[in-house]
Symmetry: C2
Subunit: 359 residues, 2 copies
């Protein structure tokens, strides 16, 4: 247990949920469902049942340091890894793994996003424990694959090799980014594909060896910082090298290339909640299938909407069907649910035409 570590990646900007989620307070820091805990806090709560609290690290952008320490008073500043620039997941993970490896050569680590939904926590905990036991004994890269229940086009898929038919562990064959619907249906029907959850388990030694093989330049930069990790000079060192790191995802840099990637097939009620549509699907609905998040609402002739205003506000809405109504600070967004992929464009237009104060 004392060799078990957790890295929670909490650097996302949450622009898909703009303006409800903003640069200043992205999705992972919000309590979308009014449970009293943000996504980050819920993720932390889950892992604190598996990993000693002092072994849980939060990797995020420097901008969010205060928010993280405020939301997670249980952790120390040393457990917050601050990225001075956005360089996707590979540099972030290289930093975290090198720091942890410096502290503990036997470290066995689960790496997870901070903003996903897990409905069956017991299954989740037993699955993570099983994975950690596996990587304690095997120098393989383990990724958590979710059994798909629909031809979802918003997720990545992992093709798995056949196994003995008893184990939940499979060798990974191929990785596919968001497929079109036709392909997603073929994946689903084949039974050979799992959703890529973005959660990884490995021992520190194994992943560092993989970085050495497939992303050597980045690996060397973080290795060279070993003497600074855990010292007052750590941040200064990270700041000096981070900007020059390749901007690349761990999937693309390592998982699609390494030959020791295995998949643990899981089924713990997972969603990455990456779209308003998925938030809508997982939220409580009124009799007309409207979802109201955080605020109060009075709805007339309305159905299938998702309404998310700041706490304490009231939405009085008449005659809307299948819309997103979201607000924060100075911005109100009204958009058809079916058009939510355009929100990124709206954010960009706002930046260009209105000003950065508004995003």
């Amino acid at each position: 247990m004392k060799n078990n570590y957790c890295v929670i990646m909490a650097g996302g900007v949450g622009s898909r949920f703009w303006p409800f989620s903003t640069n200043k307070k992205p999705k992972q820091f919000l309590d979308f469902f009014g449970t009293g805990r943000s996504f980050l806090q819920m993720t932390f709560d889950r892992f604190s049942k598996i990993v000693p609290v002092e072994n849980i690290y939060i990797a995020s952008n420097s901008d969010y340091k205060d928010l993280i320490l405020e939301q997670l008073p249980e952790i120390s500043e040393n457990q917050v890894l601050l990225e001075p620039a956005r360089r996707n997941t590979a540099p972030c993970i290289a930093y975290a793994m090198n720091k942890i490896y410096t502290l503990n050569k036997e470290a066995n680590v689960i790496v997870s996003p901070s903003d996903h939904l897990i409905l069956k926590e017991d299954d989740f905990i037993s699955t993570i424990k099983e994975g950690l036991e596996y990587t304690r004994q095997n120098d393989n890269i383990l990724t958590l694959g979710i059994k798909p229940n629909r031809p979802e086009t918003g997720y990545g898929y992992i093709q798995i090799a056949e196994n003995d038919g008893k184990s939940r562990f499979y060798k990974a064959k191929t990785f596919t980014e968001k497929p079109n619907l036709e392909l997603a249906k073929i994946f689903l029907d084949s039974g050979e594909f799992l959703w890529n959850s973005g959660m990884f388990i490995w021992n520190a030694k194994t992943i560092i060896a993989a970085f050495d093989s497939y992303l050597e330049e980045v690996s060397n930069k973080f290795k060279a910082g070993a003497e600074f990790y855990g010292t007052p000079k750590e941040q200064e060192y990270i700041n000096s090298i981070y900007q020059s790191c390749t901007n690349i995802s761990i999937d693309y840099a390592i998982l699609e290339k390494a030959d020791n990637v295995h998949v643990l097939a899981a089924n713990f009620g997972w969603s990455d909640l990456g779209t308003w549509g998925s938030i809508y699907e997982h939220s409580e609905k009124d009799t007309e299938q409207n979802v109201t998040l955080k605020c109060k609402s009075l709805l007339y002739d309305c159905k299938d909407n998702i309404i998310a205003l700041p706490d304490g506000k009231l939405a009085v809405v008449q005659g809307l069907e299948d819309y997103i109504v979201a607000e924060a600070d100075k911005v109100l967004l009204i958009c058809k649910k079916s058009e939510e992929q355009r929100i990124r464009q709206f954010v960009n237009d706002t930046l260009v035409k209105i000003g950065e104060d508004y995003i």
Copy 2:
């Protein structure tokens, strides 16, 4: 000129424009069109070209005293008449006329709402001057009638008797509240009907005599206060009698009954701006016929909407047609333009189900 007075009635609660207009700051105090002056200020500005500033009185609910003095620093507290309860226009006018008559037995007065739109100010000023000259010489009640240009169902109508064909003054025959469309068309085609603007001109002696005849109880209460008007005891006296006054409009109490009511036919680009629809009609539109009031907006696939958020806010709206989007303080309203008559119901539901903080 020194005998000319003006009473601006500014007690409306503006619930038709809720939540953009609220109990705390009703429509007359808002700068809907972003001109830098509220409706009340614009009304005051117009009359200050006709009547000495010290002869302009503002009648309103006690709640709005501070707002009035803040928006009109040119006037003294003595010029603000505060109604401790809502009793419609007859008691309000009885109060104002008795106070003015106490000060000046020759007073010649224009009484006007505070929240109407006047597009042709020069025509307006010459019409009011003509009316004041008429009531200086005639002991008649004069009401301003507007030549209708459409079968509007939201206004009251005044039927006029034939005159010599040269004068703009007519004897009033009948008053009709908001007619249905069929009747409104008949009114329009007949040429005998004018819109009731709610603006009245009379000398103080004449209207007080009319109150004596048709609303004696109310008249007596305000006559009995003569010794207090203009003294520190005025408000205390008004507070002691106001609650017990009949809740009735001047139209119903006096104009529909008196036989000396005349109409001055006018045509100065008037609208009572009593609905979102009329605000929409009189506002500047973008190429897709959208109106944005006060706030900024980025609109996609939108047409025929009216969007009114507080100053400094941004509305990003996709895929809406013919809606009202209005916000203030803690409430966001989204409602089809064609359903705006239901806003009163929404306000009431909010009061009952959510709480008075929200209205």
